[in-house]
Symmetry: C2
Subunit: 210 residues, 2 copies
Amino acid sequence: MKTKVDYTLYLVTDRELMSTKTLEEAVEQAIMGGCTLVQLREKTASSREFYQTALNIKAITDKYKVPLIINDRVDIALAIDADGVHVGQSDLPATIVRKIIGKDKILGVSAGCAEKAIEAQREGADYIGVGALFSTSTKTDAKSVSKETLIKIVKEVSIPVVGIGGINEQNVAQLKNTGIDGIAVVSAIIAQKDIKLSAEKMLEIFVEKA
Amino acid sequence: MKTKVDYTLYLVTDRELMSTKTLEEAVEQAIMGGCTLVQLREKTASSREFYQTALNIKAITDKYKVPLIINDRVDIALAIDADGVHVGQSDLPATIVRKIIGKDKILGVSAGCAEKAIEAQREGADYIGVGALFSTSTKTDAKSVSKETLIKIVKEVSIPVVGIGGINEQNVAQLKNTGIDGIAVVSAIIAQKDIKLSAEKMLEIFVEKA
């Protein structure tokens, strides 16, 4: 059966933003601070390294009963029996991914416009990731998406929508009344000195203001 | 059912060695020259690019009824319904790959010593790739394997063994009487001006001399 998902505070990892902590420590602290979902993203690791890291992270997400989504690599998701996969426009097509993972795994798809979001929903996506909402240094290939487009996407699809891209404590209040189900955060949590506190603050502002 | 495989002349692709031809043209000419098996290896492509290339190459291998093996990426192999996957020591573990692909797909595993080869056979490999037999510029992370070790591996496993690494027209005769089932060739075919002729020559020397 498909894992029930709370998209409120979605942590997306980025190993390059880590300084003193290990990725495992960072993820555990983020979950303790209130992250409801974790996406493991590894862009330079070998398959074996990605697999090992994913096993380590899964031990943590399982412990806290938080779903784990693997970015891009469907094979890694299958190898560690993750809860799902997130694909962007440079990854495998959503229809193909759905065929490979079956109906019980979560499939997230990135979309930058209503047309792509509707297409992703039709192709079997369980949720849509929309961004980059704000300027970001962590994902340079993402095009910017306006607040108007975000609201349009929320209205035109029936599945949950998660905002992503440069969301931080200063701008998260701007996502008030957009109707999104959650915020996906990278550096504003994982690159902070106190990861747990940063997650708590983001959650507090988003839940209060959104 | 598992595809019946002739390992005699195993083409392994390397896009970076290509000059004037497209990868599709190169693979077709190599098959016309006698290659019996094709492994698609893409180390820098996005998942979407790898998928598209794999679909294009599969159209050619299907046309000539030559099996297509995908290097490393189990998800790409599943996405295009390739005949199998080849994994090295930096890729997903063989036991995990076998679980994901099922019993009917071909699983190739790289091994540099008898111990690893025996382990790979036990873990479900259909064939072993052994190398680098000669010095090579195309795979800088591969350690060199002596002729003695190659012969030892052939004796100690019951599945087919394919030699790889720097094999060319000048040195292929040295693999005479090693008992290997085939030679995996990269640059000595794909980087040559006349790919078809190069494949024909390699095949002629190997079949005559081995």
